[in-house]
Symmetry: C2
């Protein structure tokens, strides 16, 4: 395949939410209580919600900056690339990078909307959460049909409300929801708990995939006195843990059709992890009583999960050990691991010797299937390639 | 290569220490204070040391048992295979399994001799620790030249004593010492700390390799309410963490010639981990100020570490991405992950398409080099093969 002919659908990017996001989506009587962006005396922008202040520029939105500036988290909208928070500018940046479609995770409300769970007034908070999802689905995604895969955040403080919200947004085409890789780390019951069953049931009923993003436990692996590089290197460990924790969970017995996406966890560890769970099953099932019926744990994993990578030579080379139908691709715009604006060139480095059919699965077909998302309802296939999108960017279109 | 011609040197097995181990190695005036094995009323055997009681059968010594009984930790010597604690029987079990040589880790004193650090009387405790090492080196290993790679435990409460002990046992040929994968988890300074410099300096001076065994932080990855299978599946995560923590550590700047072995951590995660640290270096070194000079982190890792595996198809298949000179093999006798007595058959499964030269590196040459251990000083090469050893076992020799 030629680089111009790649079709790239990214299952993990990030939004820095814009100041006006709630304006059109909160009913009048609640308007005064909506989170608002405030410029502080030190020049930083913060969100204020029920007295809680949170930085509004999450997780180093450093795209487009020289690498020397990484690590210094920008703190004001004026410091960051408009594509971080403006959907029209985002689409232009996607064109420049040859990316057809993108799933975008939240920033200031945290990965599974933790901020809304901290409000004392939960009725108000639920209003704001729905406004957030409406803004994301109707405005950010809705303004550009075929360019964004909608993703909702859950009212994590109440599993019945979570179920209701899954149903509500499913009705307008949202097929993905963020959840926590380890809710127990956030003070909630573990993901194994029946506490979450209403939510899980709704996800199955509406065929909605649960996305577990690294860091969605608000916890990263950290070792005492370790250099920052250790923390960054070990980020994928969160996904390794979530993979094992979900795979052996009684939840998959209660809800066999539940489906998960591991977001930003990489894929190169999977040949080993899939082999490891089979070995553990072979050696230990007689006393742990684990039971996968007529399947191996690795086979079950391939039914349950999709995985994704940014830049992962070993993973792509060993795609047969992972499962070619389970691998998706991501860009991670605008974070510091992102390959923007060279994503197609980076991706092509891994695709030598990979068949066109396999490349298409990895770059877009698997993501389209997992999230029941069809950009070609809106965009012609030949207008969806890297070459066409970059041509569009070059022409200013 | 034919299975009969394999030469297997295992860098990770375990001793269940025998009751009489201290008898010949503690000076008379200290004899009463040596740890002693006591049979309890419930039929279990425990070690008693300065009032502290510890089970003497560590970490499921289940070798030879049906898998249905795994998980039930045997508690008395009479419950376990004599090869667990008797070196003559151990050698017979090694012959039966075609294993030429073995490095054995401690059990009741814990992986880095933590038990001795808990004694109030440290002078006495230091006597016992040296007796432990003397027993291990002179008696367990010394009775069977060429069959065991000696490994010492350190007086972890005092880095100057650690240095002295490294020097003392190096003089009698001990080239390996256990340490903690994360000493901060045991209440000591982190492995990055200058606190340990006397120890590190002695290891460099005497060319002694530091072994970091999974679990040597007395900490395993555990997630709330998770089935036991999750814990077992995630054991290698300890080694992934130790790998990153050592590689980026300022310790390797202070002691460039320091060398580590990651014990029982597997190898299949390394193609990804090595790629990941290079990616982190490429993306983040400008602000983290990490500096590997003219090398990549992955290249430095191949200088610093040896890795080992029990059963690891993906790792062996991807040996070029790991580094053929860095891979060693282990049997893990008598623990539940062990391949005994079918280790050669299990190993051969992975060796299709692997050259004889590569097989020899993996099965024994790399271990011999890493630990400066030469069994062929004592045993003829053609008597060291799986075929010859198993023949010896069959003949009762």
């Amino acid at each position: 395949m030629d680089i111009e002919d790649l079709i790239l659908v990214s299952v993990d990017d990030h939004i820095v939410e814009p100041p006006d996001m709630f304006d059109a989506h909160v009913p009048d009587r609640w308007r005064d209580q909506a989170p608002r962006s405030v410029r502080m005396e030190d020049g930083s922008d913060v969100w204020v919600f029920e007295g809680i202040k949170v930085p509004n520029i999450g997780l180093n939105a450093v795209v487009g900056r020289p690498k020397e500036e990484y690590g210094w988290d920008p703190t004001a909208y004026t410091d960051i690339r408009p594509g971080c928070y403006d959907h029209v500018e985002r689409v232009k940046d996607m064109n420049l990078n040859g990316v057809l479609s993108s799933m975008c995770f939240p920033s200031f409300v945290q990965f599974c909307g933790q901020l809304f769970s901290k409000a004392k007034d939960k009725e108000m908070s639920y209003v704001m959460l729905r406004a957030y999802n409406d803004w994301h689905i109707d405005e950010w995604c809705g303004s550009h049909p075929g360019r964004f895969i909608p993703l909702s955040i859950p009212p994590i403080w109440d599993p019945e409300l979570m179920a209701a919200e899954v149903a509500r947004v499913a009705a307008k085409g949202c097929t993905a929801v963020t959840f926590s890789e380890d809710p127990s780390a956030l003070g909630w019951p573990s993901l194994h708990s029946e506490h979450w069953d209403p939510f899980y049931r709704a996800c199955v009923e509406h065929d909605v995939r649960i996305c577990l993003h690294i860091g969605s436990s608000s916890k990263l692996v950290m070792l005492e006195d370790a250099p920052m590089d250790v923390l960054i290197s070990l980020q994928p460990v969160n996904s390794i843990q979530a993979f094992a924790n979900v795979l052996w969970s009684p939840v998959l017995k209660r809800f066999p059709d539940l489906r998960f996406a591991l977001s930003e966890g990489g894929i190169g560890w999977l040949p080993y992890a899939l082999e490891r769970v089979d070995y553990v099953y072979q050696q230990h099932r007689f006393w742990t009583k684990a039971d996968f019926g007529d399947k191996l744990p690795s086979e079950r994993a391939r039914e349950v999960f999709t995985f994704c990578f940014i830049d992962d030579k070993a993973g792509v080379a060993e795609r047969d050990r992972i499962g070619i139908d389970n691998i998706t691709w991501e860009c991670d715009y605008p974070h510091s691991d992102s390959t923007w604006p060279h994503a197609p060139e980076m991706a092509m480095k891994h695709f030598a010797g990979v068949s066109d059919e396999e490349i298409n699965k990895i770059t877009h077909l698997n993501a389209m299937k997992a999230f029941r998302f069809d950009p070609f309802q809106h965009i012609a296939r030949d207008a969806a390639t890297v070459g066409a999108l970059r041509g569009l960017a070059a022409s200013g279109g």
